[in-house]
Amino acid sequence: MTTSTTFGALESAKSRVLPLLMTGLLGVFIIAVSGFAQMDVVHNAGHDYRHSMAFPCH
């Protein structure tokens, strides 16, 4: 009984890690585009925001 419960908990912890890593990667991607991308259009659109977030911008 105890063994199977432990196994179940481990299994569910494992199955959570991959989707959570994907969640984190999506966040990194979004921040990279909005905060770091050097395209002029993205830069100009987010100019005030980038300065206000203190991103190393230009």
């Binding site: 959570r16 890690v17 959570l20 969640t23 659109a45 190393p56 230009h58």
Partner: protein
């Protein structure tokens, strides 16, 4: 899949809310200072983006052409600032939900505030020590070098905090402190000269305004996430309360 969907949902709600709050704070505290500094930009011919951002070879890449699209001042510019704030609010929300769920999940808004403080320390406080917020018309070191230092500092501070809070031994905590200190021992890339037409007191007010608005942004983001999660916790599971 439901873990991913629920994590994104949580980040989207909290990020949307925090991004909108952030825009209100910025329009009062930081944007007026940015606009004021831009009046010095015209008076500073040395502030040619292409010249100091990159090595000579890459200078053309990031020169702000006259033709490059930019939002018109006023409502349009504010609209894009809201958009950027909401998008990044969701981006930071995704990182926060990923980190906090791996650590067991945020139990309520109060614990969310603690997570928000951690986010502030990692993304604003630590990189801001070496690279204080800049106003337009201020000199800065090579952009790529600053971005590398910024990312390395954020990563080291996050890892260091995690080791201190979740590490199970004193040794790991000491290692965590070392990781947090290391980027500042190395030092951030600095410009060749700090000469700028921007008055020092304007910059000082801007640094305070940016730091405080970012603190509020992170506290709102964390609290909103804890609050929403407490109401939709089913699919993500009961918090494991590892943040004892």
């Amino acid at each position: 899949m439901s873990v991913f969907r629920n994590a994104v949902f949580l980040a989207a709600i909290a990020g949307l809310f925090a991004g909108i709050v952030m825009t209100g704070l910025q329009s009062f505290f930081t944007v007026p200072l940015i606009l004021q500094a831009e009046t010095y930009e015209a008076a500073a011919p040395a502030h040619d983006h292409g010249a100091h951002d990159h090595g000579e070879g890459a200078a053309a890449d990031h020169h702000h052409d006259e033709e490059a699209w930019a939002p018109a001042d006023g409502a349009e510019r504010t609209f894009y600032t809201v958009l950027a704030n909401v998008v990044t609010g969701i981006g930071f929300g995704l990182l926060l939900v990923a980190a906090s769920e791996i650590a067991g999940g945020i139990a309520g808004w109060r614990q969310g505030v603690v997570w928000g403080f951690a986010g502030f320390a990692v993304f604003t406080l630590a990189p801001g020590l070496g690279l204080p917020p800049e106003l337009p018309a201020m000199p800065a070191a090579d952009l790529f070098a600053r971005q590398v230092w910024w990312i390395a500092t954020v990563g080291a501070t996050a890892a260091g905090l995690a080791l201190i809070v979740f590490g199970r031994s004193v040794l790991l905590a000491v290692l965590g402190v070392a990781l947090i200190v290391a980027p500042h021992a190395v030092g951030a890339p600095q410009p060749a000269t700090h000469e700028t037409p921007v008055p020092a007191d304007l910059h000082q007010r801007f640094v305070v305004a940016v730091t405080v608005t970012n603190l509020l942004f992170w506290l709102v983001l964390g609290a909103a996430m804890g609050f929403v999660r407490a109401r939709f916790s089913g699919p993500l599971g009961t918090p494991q309360n590892s943040l004892a």
